[in-house]
């Protein structure tokens, strides 16, 4: 395609960037501008992979020129102009080649149209372009992992190296994933557009899923002792807030933002001094981030304003909000929470939701009510090796004074969890059962 610079990967610059102030500034500008830059270019050239390469080329020019001549007054416009000129050159050159080959087919018309399109409207509809970029990066033709990597790269402004570090994977793995994703999009001729009609809801669900995947990856590691990679939570929140401005009428976008804001508000409280997890009801609520809680509650209000009832993300946010509003665990409105889980179970039935519903029922109407609901789940195949089922069951049995049964459940839960710290916590509870005590304290 003539625009690739040999061996160039933005991530490889990171080591040198720290040595220079200008490079740090360029890094910051890239983070702010790259998504809009790539989105505008993609509308021009109708290929997100190519658009990103052109944007990267403009960045390389900036890295060469700015340390020498200084950062321009409007760096965003500078990058846009530089990249746009390259794109136009490229389109013209391709046009000539194609004319030579007498291939003035449909493809050409699209490109010519793209060119005039672009020249007519330079800086409006940037929001629309961003939205097109979001839907393209999260296109169902890609695997969920590819969607995540591409979204962080194209919309989050993260380098390949940063993505690799966050996902605890080697850099070449992520680089490969991104290259393949771009190729898949080009080969499948995925149009650079926002889906319409009934397709929109399905595709939006895929976008929200990607954002929440990123958030959860940051919120809790799936195995081992590294519990938090909070930077990914911030990236997901940034993407979510951005989306909420792009599609403000979609209730579930606000629902997801609300859910992430409220979950993130507990980040500081959910890990103890030696890295051990602290369960929600045992967290020091003074460490909950009230600014994020307020933002979460406001986003939940926006989700409600759509008037079409709450979707699965908004319901989960409403559940999280029940905790966030309570100043102490005793003030929690468990009956409301049980009703919300009931609604969630109807909308998005899952054994895990049922498990949480049992907890809410136990808190609202006593451990016996919770246990009754829980016992319907014990034959559920999806929960067979899920440590939280025996863990919750053990808790309810202990509260009912059935310590022998509780001990067995805690031990089973300990054998199922992959998290070392959680295991030791469960074994402590099992030991407490031997002493005939509900809590771990003797």
């Amino acid at each position: 395609m003539g625009v690739r610079i040999a061996g160039y990967r933005k991530g490889s610059f990171s080591a040198t960037i720290v040595t220079s102030d200008t490079h740090r500034i360029i890094d910051a500008i890239w983070r702010i501008e790259s998504a809009r830059l790539i989105a505008s270019l993609a509308r021009m050239v109708r290929d997100v992979g190519l658009a990103e390469e052109i944007a990267q080329d403009a960045l390389v020019v900036a890295l060469e020129q700015w340390p020498q001549f200084g950062v321009p007054d409007n760096p965003g416009a500078w990058l846009m102009t530089t990249a746009k000129n390259r794109a136009i050159d490229l389109l013209r050159r391709n046009k000539l080649i194609e004319r030579k080959h007498e291939e003035l087919g449909r493809e050409m018309d699209v490109q010519r149209e793209a060119l005039t399109d672009f020249e007519i409207s330079v800086d409006d509809v940037i929001g629309d372009d961003l939205l097109r970029l979001v839907f393209t990066a999260c296109h169902p033709v890609l695997s969920p992992e590819a969607r995540v990597a591409l979204t962080l790269r194209l919309l989050g402004g993260l380098t390949t190296q940063e993505i690799a570090r966050a996902f605890l994977l080697p850099e070449p793995t992520i680089a490969q994933r991104i290259v393949r994703a771009k190729r898949t999009l080009a080969e499948a001729r995925v149009p650079f557009e926002v889906p319409r009609g009934p397709e929109l809801a399905v595709r939006l669900a895929s976008v929200l899923e990607v954002v929440y995947l990123v958030f959860n990856e940051g919120y809790a590691a799936t195995s081992g002792d590294d519990w938090m990679r909070p930077a990914l939570c911030e990236d997901a929140l940034r993407l979510g807030r951005m989306l909420a401005e792009l599609v403000p009428k979609e209730s579930e976008v606000h629902g997801l933002v609300a859910l992430m804001e409220i979950q993130a508000s507990r980040a500081r409280a959910r890990i103890g001094p030696s890295g051990e997890p602290i369960l929600l009801l045992e967290q020091n609520r003074g460490h909950w981030d009230q600014l994020l809680i307020r933002r979460g509650l406001a986003a939940l209000e926006r989700a409600r304003e759509s008037g079409r009832g709450l979707g699965p993300y908004a319901l989960q946010a409403a559940i999280a909000a029940c905790h966030a509003r309570a100043r102490t665990p005793a003030e929690t409105d468990w009956e409301c929470m049980a009703a919300l889980y009931d609604a969630l179970a109807q909308l998005a039935p899952s054994p895990v939701v049922e498990l949480n519903r049992a907890v809410a029922l136990a808190m609202a109407f006593g451990p016996a009510a919770g246990l009754e609901h829980l016992d319907r789940l014990t034959s559920e195949p999806a929960l067979r090796s899920y440590h939280l089922l025996p863990s919750v069951r053990g808790d309810l049995l202990a509260k009912l004074g059935r310590f022998d049964e509780a001990r067995v459940e805690f031990e089973r839960a300990a054998s199922l969890t992959h998290n070392a710290r959680e295991r030791s916590m469960l074994l402590e509870r099992s030991a407490a059962c031997v002493r005939g005590s509900v809590t771990t304290k003797p």
Partner: protein
Amino acid sequence: MRFMMLMIPKGYEKAEPGATPDPKTVAAMTKYNQSLQQAGVLLALDGLHPPSMGARVSFSGGKPKVTDGPFAEAKEVVGGYWIIQVKSKEEAIQWASRCPGSDNEVIEVRQVQEFSDFPAEVKEAAGQFADRLEHPKKS
């Protein structure tokens, strides 16, 4: 990391009570605020009434002493603030640079302290504050 961008408009220290910016300034500022929101970096923002409507409480000799505004000795005062969530100080500065500020305006960019920035003994002291929030009767 979080940064507070403090807007310091020269002359605001002498502004009359109830003084508000003109509609043109507000329109430009609103567009800027929207750009922060659209980028997903804005956490909070507020504008402040002039000091002539406020007061200062000083603690000379450990005793609170109240002075009503305006404050003759004040050379500059805060007119408003934004709290943004970004990846670096450079990014915060870039956002501040995009503000449609006037000749008389200065934005001070300051990083918000996080709990994890504190040494252990400060954390402990701050933890006691958090505990009091949770168990008000215990303190």
